[in-house]
Amino acid sequence: MDDKFQKLMQEKKRFLIPALIFLLVFYFMLPLSLIFLPEAMNGTSFVAGITWGWLYAFLQLPMTWIMVWAYHIKSKRFDRLVEEIKQEELS
């Protein structure tokens, strides 16, 4: 029965560790780029009238929503695995 649990944890790690790294990098790159690259961030981006600074700040919102949603989708699979472990535990 521990094999299944190992598998669950591996799958969780495979999703969560990259997701966390991405999230922290994406989040902290905003203050860091504002500190170290102020000129570039104040330049106009490909969206007319919006600087890179604003664009990047706005992108944090969809980033959060997409990550939450991706985790939700992934978790359905995790829940199935948990259910299987439970079944084995009972039998």
């Binding site: 966390l20 989040y27 604003w54 959060t64 929503w65 535990e89």
Partner: protein, 514 residues
Amino acid sequence: MNLTYFLFFICIIVCTLIITYWAAKRSKTTNRFYTAAGSLTGFQNGMAIAGDFISAASFLGIVGTIAINGYDGFLYSIGFLVSYLIVLFLIAEPVHRLGTYSLGDVICSRFPGDNMRWLMAIGAFTISILYMIPQLVASGFLLRLLLDIDYSISVVIIGGLMTIYVVFGGMVATSWVQIVKTVVLMSGTFMLSLIVFSNFNWNTADLIERVKEGTPLGGEFFLPGHLFENPVEFLSLQLALIFGTAGLPHILIRLFTVRNTLEVRRSLISSTWIIGLFYLMTLILGLGTVALLGYHTMIEADPTGNLAAPLLAKEVGGDFLLAFISAIAFTTIVAVVAGLVISATTAFSHDIYHHIIKKGKSTEKEQLRAARWTALGIGLISTLFALRLETINVTFLVSMTFIVAAASNFPVLLLTIYWRRFNQIGAISGMASGLAASLILVVLGPHIMNPDGGWIAREAVISLHNPGIIAIPIGFLGAYLGTVFSPKQSQTEAEFRRFFKKSQTGIESRGDSA
């Protein structure tokens, strides 16, 4: 106070009291009192989490901060939102699976014992009270400004209401007051944002042009650098914001109010949507204030910018809209402080009274009575404190709460759930060093030590307003060193595996297999 205001306020007070009455009939067991018996759906809980989280400081403060500082003001709200990802990925599901009523339950499921429980209870209690007092003080000023009622009367009204909700209705009433608050707050700000846009014929470029005319910063308004000149300060704040939420007891205990982890995830999905959309609207309101009123009118009314949203409402919608927005601000305050009362109550009556004093043997009836008396006591004491603190500036306590949470509760929770070698001594030293570091750093910092007007009139030893960048590593380091230098492993490998499995799957394995 004219009739419109009066009617709005009476309406809100009556509605929330009806909710409380209805909830009181349903709060007859401890399970109901502390967690609404897990009866909320994910979406309802998501609204309640947003209602618990968005304080009047967010609603009024961030609109004002954006109106004054432009871009940098908006960055504040980003941190608040992204912090929910940390909660969802690392903390939310294990907390739901391991705890029953409090964060003490979560930690004690790995490290049982009175010492650990004391520490968690004191931590949760301190954070909730530290957060509640400035909210109450701010609410007193706010109602005085908006409605022209005396500071003490406003504090007594809000303190009284929050106490009534929690004493009689427990978590059920608190949750529903918070849900109502979220609905009212979101629809109010949405309406106001639409009105702002309609004033510019739905043309964003027009709005931006007018903002540039309205602010003394001109085009600079849209560029970063007006609020945070010091890069270290800026990073430090971002650090406290993103890790703070994962250590806030009043938010985390809301995760016990749903049935299973699927609903936990749904709660956090809904709350991130609500909070994200809300902060987008505060941006519109902040810009709208500068564009329609101009910087100077706003600063004349209140130099902190806290009155930006109400002034904007008055400008675009007259007295009626102002009354409506004031009523929203009022609901916002009572919903947040009620959430803090219940969190402090749980820490005291469940952890300290039931588990430590009564050794977990008090009856259902005793527990419920203890919880109600505790809530009454906490409500009374914090109201009295808020009344005494009228002349003292306590707003720094709000940002301190996030630092304390991120430096003490968050490391201990995270390491308890995931670190195999972590032990009780590590948990205690982590909690203590995080708490001590944040308190000492704030006392040595410019909030307290300030040549003009500080409590200690001297140059600050540490120049950071937000010492998170020092305090958070100290919390983690304390936990690590405590673990490494403690003499023996308090837990066997098998015990950890059993605990870890429960935290990840909710399955309680029997001793044999693990």
